[in-house]
């Protein structure tokens, strides 16, 4: 019955929206507890320095101050590195930050002290009076220099190197195959560091109940249970004495799934002070103290045979991990395993070195290496189209996997060691559909010109494909219950940061009872509701949470029908729900509120929930989404500026649970992809100082730059889960940068594969145009 919901393709408006859009959201910043104090962190202005001394007397004497703490002031049990979030066996060593810097700071923004005062204003006044004396150390900034350093400088002196992992994965025999390729192209490609911005910054509020010995933490997090675990470990409290609540969360995008010093320091202080303490990250802090993304430098090569079939691909890349490596090797491994995409690549190898630098830690941010992998693959194909003379579409079509190939074993390993096996897809259908939708053929030939008052813009199109892991374990659990009012309730630990998980859960839980989703009550983002789960990240919730909800709801329906069958002495097979009421054929047997009343009378339970079913779900393997995007660009050849007026995308996320939510996810990520391609760039100087540390200089795509979107679906149901669904939150971003740079090359009649860096700056466009106009045999484009 639930399956029929996902097959119905009926759109529901998000149940979250009315409250959020009318200003009734409740974020950590909206919560005020009695006697609540506020904290501000004193942060390092240096990328790399030894702390000589910290004087706090003036700060302590500042009005309204409750206390000031440095590393030395912390209790011995708390003076240790944060538990690493993800480990990987390929690491030589794992360096995790301490709650406050111990002796050395390793990036601008690292917290060295914390000031607690009666309010934020007083805390900031006092923070300015904490005097920290630093002895600057040579900063490690440039990625290549950092990797090559043998005599220092090192981010962590004891490692004797900045390289913390050297990882290789290979399928086939790449070197042998490359040697016999008919055509080979080599590219050096660079994707630059970016931020992971949410509308709401990070935020933590903690309250300690001395009588009960219970700690309650409200946190703007993507994972309440992992945070509960870490708090338990660091604060030496049993898990059941810690409750972590994610209230409304204003965006996550990955960085909020990570663990940060502030999330531990604030609860530590709340317990110490016996009063609630809150910290709200401001935008300036986001840029220097939240996890960041990307920074990869690839040396990549592609070989094809005479017919254009790929014989081998290899890439050797550096990945800038930042100052510590507590978040595992997810980003570079995801980049490496995403690179092959929907293409048949019999021989492929990726090798990378994870390199520490004096910059904030790098973690998964929407895409998590996928756009980088796709960029490398698609750039190689473009450069090959240029060299071999094979049309860029034809070269791709020749190499697409066919529907018969699935399940398809790529021959690589996930970051967890499990194999990369595509569950289902139909790449040629996606490809053909997007080519048709975008009127690709009409866009060919001489790039179109649009002349207006002294300005000529040129139009071009670009295409790129991807396959992405979108639904991977470990398990999520869900409880579905009938309460005393006869309402169906869904209880989840996984929270929502804009993905519409409450809507999805309501939709799936309503189906077995034939209720309207608005009649189902969803509670989520609370460690007290369910004890199994990792949270919301990696495009996993449709698969993990969706199936858990659906199984638990069906379980509850069966429990209820069993009771009604007994009471009315009818065979259970004859019973069914219609609009929340139970019928046996035409005979009405009762409603959910009536049943609740009966159950309450029977006194089976004294609690608020009369009947409940809990289910866990973990997919068999990994669900892989796929898609192909076409970007249409308008380039001003005199200024080098690029606009993206239209994006077409055909996507396969299996069955679509709620078309409106899926559409929202995809267009949001497409806009994000436009930003990645053209704007988002964290620029550091050679001292490791961030030059783009505010929204004035770090450019995020706005509505004015967002394209018109045309999105279609061709779903191949995933065999990994009963609902046949796959994730969708990162799909839109994967192909966009690759498609956009290719479209600019088309617009300006540049050699395919010209652009090798992201983001694409107007000056780079002009330089490429100038270089092209110096080539013989090319017509002037500007």
């Amino acid at each position: 019955m639930v399956r029929s919901v996902v097959e119905a393709h009926v759109t529901f408006r998000r149940i979250e929206d009315e409250r959020l859009l009318t200003g009734r959201g409740r974020y950590v910043g909206d919560i005020r507890l009695d006697n609540m104090a506020e904290a501000v962190f004193v942060r390092s202005p240096h990328a790399h320095a030894r702390i000589r001394s910290i004087e706090v007397d003036d700060a302590l004497a500042s009005p309204g101050v409750i206390g000031v703490w440095t590393f030395d002031d912390l209790d011995a049990y708390f003076q240790r590195p944060l538990p690493p979030w993800f480990r990987h066996p390929a690491f030589r060593d794992v360096k995790s930050p301490t709650p406050l810097a111990k002796g050395i700071v390793r990036h601008v923004g690292e917290a060295v002290a914390v000031v607690v005062a009666v309010d934020r204003h007083h805390a900031e006044d006092a923070a300015g009076k904490v005097k920290v004396t630093y002895d600057p150390l040579p900063p490690v900034v440039d990625l290549e220099e950092a990797a090559a350093a043998t005599e220092g400088p090192f981010v962590h002196e004891d490692l004797g190197s900045n390289v913390v992992a050297d990882y290789t994965d290979e399928v086939g025999d790449v070197d042998e195959a490359m040697a016999r390729a008919a055509h080979r192209v080599k590219l050096r490609l660079r994707t630059h560091r970016g931020a992971g911005l949410s509308l709401e910054g990070r935020a933590t509020l903690a309250s300690w109940d001395e009588q009960e010995g219970v700690l309650t933490v409200w946190d703007s997090t993507q994972g309440v249970l992992p945070l509960q675990n870490s708090l338990s470990e660091m604060l030496q409290l049993p898990k059941e004495k810690i409750r972590v609540i994610a209230p409304d969360v204003g965006g996550g995008f990955g960085p909020k799934h990570m663990l940060y010093p502030e999330e531990l320091v604030i609860p530590y202080l709340a317990r110490k002070l016996g009063r609630p303490v809150r910290w709200l990250e401001d935008r300036l802090e986001t840029f220097i103290a939240s996890a960041q993304q990307r920074d990869q430098e690839h040396e990549a090569e592609l070989g094809i045979d005479e017919e254009g079939r790929i014989v081998a691909v290899r890439t050797d890349f550096l990945w800038d991990a930042g100052a510590y490596n507590p978040y595992g090797l997810i980003v570079p491994i995801v980049a490496g395993i995403t690179l092959p995409g929907p293409y048949r690549i019999p021989n492929y190898r990726f090798r990378f070195r994870a390199v520490l630098t004096n910059k904030p830690v790098v973690a998964p941010v929407r895409g998590s290496g996928r756009p980088d992998g796709v960029f490398v693959m698609e750039r190689l194909l473009d450069a090959m189209a240029e060299q071999s003379g094979i049309d860029r579409l034809a070269l791709r079509r020749i190499n697409l996997l066919s529907p018969d190939d699935f399940p398809y074993d790529v021959g690589l390993k996930q970051h967890g060691g499990d194999p990369v096996v595509y569950d289902s897809a139909n790449p040629p259908a996606l490809f053909d559909k997007v080519v048709e939708m975008s009127r690709w053929e009409e866009q060919q030939g001489a790039p179109a010109e649009d002349a207006r008052r002294g300005r000529r813009t040129r139009r071009g199109v670009g295409i790129a494909s991807f396959v992405e892991s979108a639904g991977r374990g470990p398990a999520e659990a869900c409880r579905v219950a009938l309460d005393r009012d006869g309402k169906v309730r869904v209880l989840l630990s996984a929270g929502t940061q804009g993905q519409g998980i409450a809507t999805m859960a309501a939709l799936l839980a309503a189906a077995p009872f034939d209720l309207s989703p608005s009649e189902v009550h969803v509670e989520l983002g609370d460690s007290h509701l369910v004890s199994v789960g990792q949270g919301t990240y990696g495009s996993r919730s449709a698969v993990l949470v969706g199936n858990a909800v659906s199984l638990a709801a069906e379980g509850l329906r069966d429990e209820i029908l069993l009771r009604i069958a007994r009471r009315h002495q009818r065979p259970i097979e004859s019973l069914s729900f219609r609009a929340g009421e139970v019928y046996s054929g035409p005979d009405y047997l009762g409603s959910l509120p009536q049943l609740a009343e009966d159950l309450a009378e029977e006194g089976e339970t004294q609690g608020e929930l009369l009947l409940e079913v809990e289910r866990e779900f973990e997919p068999k393997g990994v669900a892989y989404s796929s898609g192909v995007a076409v970007a249409l660009v308008e380039v001003d050849p005199e200024l080098g500026t690029v606009k993206v007026p239209e994006v077409y995308m055909v996507h396969d996320c299996g069955h679509v649970i709620n078309p409106l939510t899926v559409h929202g996810q995809i267009v949001g990520a497409i806009a994000h992809g436009v930003g990645n391609a053209l704007f988002e760039h964290l620029v550091y100087d050679d001292k490791g100082q961030l030059l783009t540390g505010s929204l004035m200089d770090y450019l995020v795509v706005t509505a004015a730059d967002a394209p018109r979107y045309v999105v279609e679906h061709i779903g191949t149901p995933s065999p990994t889960n009963p609902l046949g669904v796959k994730g969708t939150a990162e799909a839109g971003i994967c192909a966009l940068p690759a498609a956009i740079v290719q479209a600019v090359e088309h617009a300006l009649d540049l050699p395919w594969g010209t652009f090798t860096q992201l983001p694409l700056h107007p000056e780079t466009v002009l330089e490429a145009l100038a270089a092209r106009n110096r080539l013989p045999g090319r017509t002037q484009a500007s």
């Binding site: 300036l284 008052r453 002294g454 783009t692 200089d697 730059d705």
Partner: protein, 293 residues
């Protein structure tokens, strides 16, 4: 991001505001629309002892036409200027340029005087004031003086006003018949990498006269491109003239590099925008009326 402590005083009249400025001098800072000041306060980049709020002084908010001159009260909101009927008809370049300031929410709060007194060299109003050869009426308790646009902006965020003086009115003379405002920013609403306001008349033989080309974002103040202007004066604006003006414009500026654009790119953009502005201005019918009152 909370401001350092300050004293707040709301001035109810111009006299009171001037008296407060006299009293506090360097320590005092005027609060008008707050669109630049509040971020600076919140980031603690400026920490004035006293904030003198002039928003209650209604008498400083007006747009008046007088003898062919547009008189704009310093507290007039940018959005009012942008949408004012007289401005749209007879000072259309002013309206077009103001439209590029940030977003409409910013223009709803931001004031004309506030932006000019802030003296950001990439601010649209500063460029427009330079092109129009606007006059700045500046008052203190002792006197009122008039500062020509050319002398008003000294360098980044610095004007020739004294700490106890206040900008009360800006006067824009009649606009030449042909005009264009061009701007390039990384995204719509961002600070301009380069902006330019171009104004000129055509004489009876179709030659350019009264040519003014002002550019922002390329120096510590908005600049007039005198060489480019002179090259066009008394000449028909044919293709050759446009090319020459664009080249001179580009050579005349000495921008600096920053994280968004190199000096070389900005120079190139100046040439492209000046050329486009001249073409656009020429392509317009005699839109701006010659104001004969």
């Amino acid at each position: 991001m909370k401001p350092a402590p300050f004293r707040y005083v709301a001035a109810q009249s111009l006299e009171e505001a001037l008296a407060l400025l006299q009293e506090y001098g360097d320590e005092g800072k005027l609060l008008a629309g707050g669109q630049s000041l509040l971020p600076l306060l919140n980031m603690r980049l400026t920490q004035p002892a006293v904030l003198i709020d002039i928003n209650p002084i209604r008498e400083l908010s007006y747009i008046r036409r007088e003898n062919g001159v547009l008189r704009v009260g310093a507290l007039t909101r940018q959005r009012e200027l942008e949408r004012h009927e007289d401005v749209l008809r007879d000072w259309p370049c002013l309206a077009a340029g103001v439209e590029h300031i940030g977003y409409f929410q910013i223009r709803n709060r931001g004031t004309v005087g506030g932006s000019l007194a802030h003296a950001d060299p990439s601010a649209e109003l500063a460029v427009l004031a330079a092109a129009y050869e606007a006059e700045f009426y500046v008052q203190s308790e002792e006197e009122t003086r008039v500062i020509p646009a050319e002398e008003f902006f000294l360098t980044y965020l610095t004007t020739s006003m004294m700490p106890h003086e206040m900008l009360t009115e800006i006067r824009f003379p009649a606009q030449p018949s042909h005009w264009s405002f061009q701007e390039l920013a990384r995204r719509p609403g961002d600070f301009a990498l380069v902006s330019t306001a171009v104004l000129f008349d055509l004489d009876s033989r179709g030659n350019a006269c009264n040519v003014r080309i002002a550019v922002g974002g390329v120096d510590a103040t908005p600049v007039r491109l005198r060489n480019a202007e002179a090259s066009l004066e008394g000449r028909p604006l044919d293709e050759e003239a446009l090319e020459e003006a664009a080249r001179l414009a580009q050579d005349e500026v000495e921008p600096e590099s920053d994280v968004q654009a190199s000096a070389a790119y900005r120079k190139r953009v100046v040439g492209v925008l000046v050329r486009r502005a001249l073409i656009e201005a020429l392509s317009r019918p005699q839109a701006a009326g010659r104001m004969e009152e």
